[in-house]
Homo-oligomer: 289 residues x 2
């Protein structure tokens, strides 16, 4: 299999822009696609913020390097243009029908050899594979927020994914500075959420049972494991809307916790770190106060 | 309630010796009890190792301070002597009948005002309370290995524990340099294991389903959460016998993992970090190789 040298990213939202920048930072020419000029303008501002964050947070990042990276990203609103790449990474909103439509259109425009990868965090690649028209050249490549420092790339194929395609994408992930996490079976939530959800759920259960406070639960976790954040700090970082949605769809205990989040936090505008308050309070720079 | 000023620790094993040293390091006169002269000799060696570890690992610890702390610990093989304290912390082996017998004897020897606290990690205080003869002055005070740096003290009473006794023990925990974790209900596993067991279980499930390797699972956890150790590194630190025992008593998935641990690790002498090999290999100083 030929090496991946040209990359497009579909969707220039939070993750899409970060993925585009990460590939460009590691020397790839990247086409960043979104549906409108307005979306492209928003992506431009987003990239400016990413450049600042990378300079501030990534050891060794220079002004020169981040500026050069930005220069390797070309925006387009033409899907046909974005389709012409060795690898197209799809990071459009988490809506199955939307994604299926994008893949159907993309499949008709892209060269036969192009590999498609979805960054979906909640759908399985097998939900989408058929709509690509090339299930053997399709898999999931999942990035986490703050790609430049939280640099895991979870690679998960379906039973139809060609192993050579899988290997090429693993190699590409390494080439753009990611630590490739190889999943050998489809797993809802990939590795990270398969671990994180049970931990966060156990913490919620301790809180809802009245066993201990978020502060004491977080203290225990930090001191005992050396981790920088306890579970309720992680809730705040993730944002409380996500656990609300997840727990709302769960069992009775989960639904009680969803209700608790809604009444005590969401309904009061306490959405977690992003809004300045969740289980804890934060200053404008996201530091706990 | 009078402040706790004198302390005894029953059992001079791994945790008992660490608890005795921690209290002595923070200025308390401590009586360390064990059943035989041989046990006392072993405790003396154990304290020497603790002194070295504290000097090496605790920021600001001086030779002078650790030597002075050692000087505040008196060994005894007479339970009657150990019973004369404001607080008796029991850290004898995890055997319900043994503990009950110790408390029955202790209850007959100690002043009425003496508070009893169990360091049990697997039993609930309500399993033991009746045998103390003073359920209102009895609770759990749970320490973690490497007390001087993993300085959580989980405080958990029963419904019969006098709130003033609970508060006095919380205050004592703070006075010996611990972060008191207040549990307001009895919770098997306290806070820490209530969080850790689900995380470790989820990691085991990913491994047993063939989703990913321990290395990739650990990489994901470390990178995504900033924690120093992934779940399989934690398994190795804890030692593989403990998860084997826990999983053996669990559901079908747990029992399969117990069997996996037995066949691939325990039967081959791979017990985790302590034996130099578990999921990973370690040098003599416990560093991964």
């Amino acid at each position: 299999m030929a090496r991946i040298t040209t990359v497009s990213v579909l969707g220039a939202g939070v993750l899409g822009s970060q993925i585009a920048f990460q590939a460009a930072y590691h020397g790839f020419e990247v086409t960043s696609y979104d549906i409108s000029d307005k979306a492209v303008q928003a992506a431009d501002s987003r990239l400016k913020a990413i450049m600042q964050a990378v300079r501030a947070q990534l050891p060794g990042a220079t002004d020169e390097a981040v500026t050069a990276a930005r220069g390797r990203i070309t925006h387009t609103t033409e899907l046909a243009e974005a389709a012409k790449a060795d690898l197209v990474i799809e990071a459009v909103p988490e809506n199955l029908e939307l994604k299926q439509n994008v893949y159907t259109e993309l499949g008709g425009l892209a060269p036969e050899s192009t590999i498609f990868a979805t960054n979906s965090s909640t759908l399985l690649p097998s939900d989408i594979a058929a709509s690509t028209g090339r299930p053997d050249r399709f898999l999931a490549l999942h990035f986490a927020n703050q790609v430049w420092i939280r640099n895991t790339a979870e690679v998960m194929g379906t039973e139809q994914t060609d192993p050579a395609v899988y290997d090429a994408v693993v190699e590409f992930a390494g080439a753009i500075g990611m630590v490739p996490i190889q999943l050998h079976k489809e797993q809802p939530g990939y590795v990270l959420n398969s671990l994180l959800v049970p931990l966060l759920g156990a913490a919620a259960e301790l809180l809802m049972r009245g066993v201990a406070t978020p502060e004491d639960i977080d203290n225990t976790w930090r001191i005992a494991t050396g981790a920088p954040n306890g579970p309720f700090e992680i809730y705040d970082v993730v944002g409380l809307r996500t656990p609300y949605e997840i727990n709302k769809a769960g069992d009775e205990g989960n639904r009680l916790f969803a209700q608790y989040l809604k009444e005590n936090y969401l309904d009061k505008g306490k959405l977690g770190m992003e809004s300045g308050e969740g289980f804890y309070k934060y200053d404008e720079r996201g530091k706990r106060i």
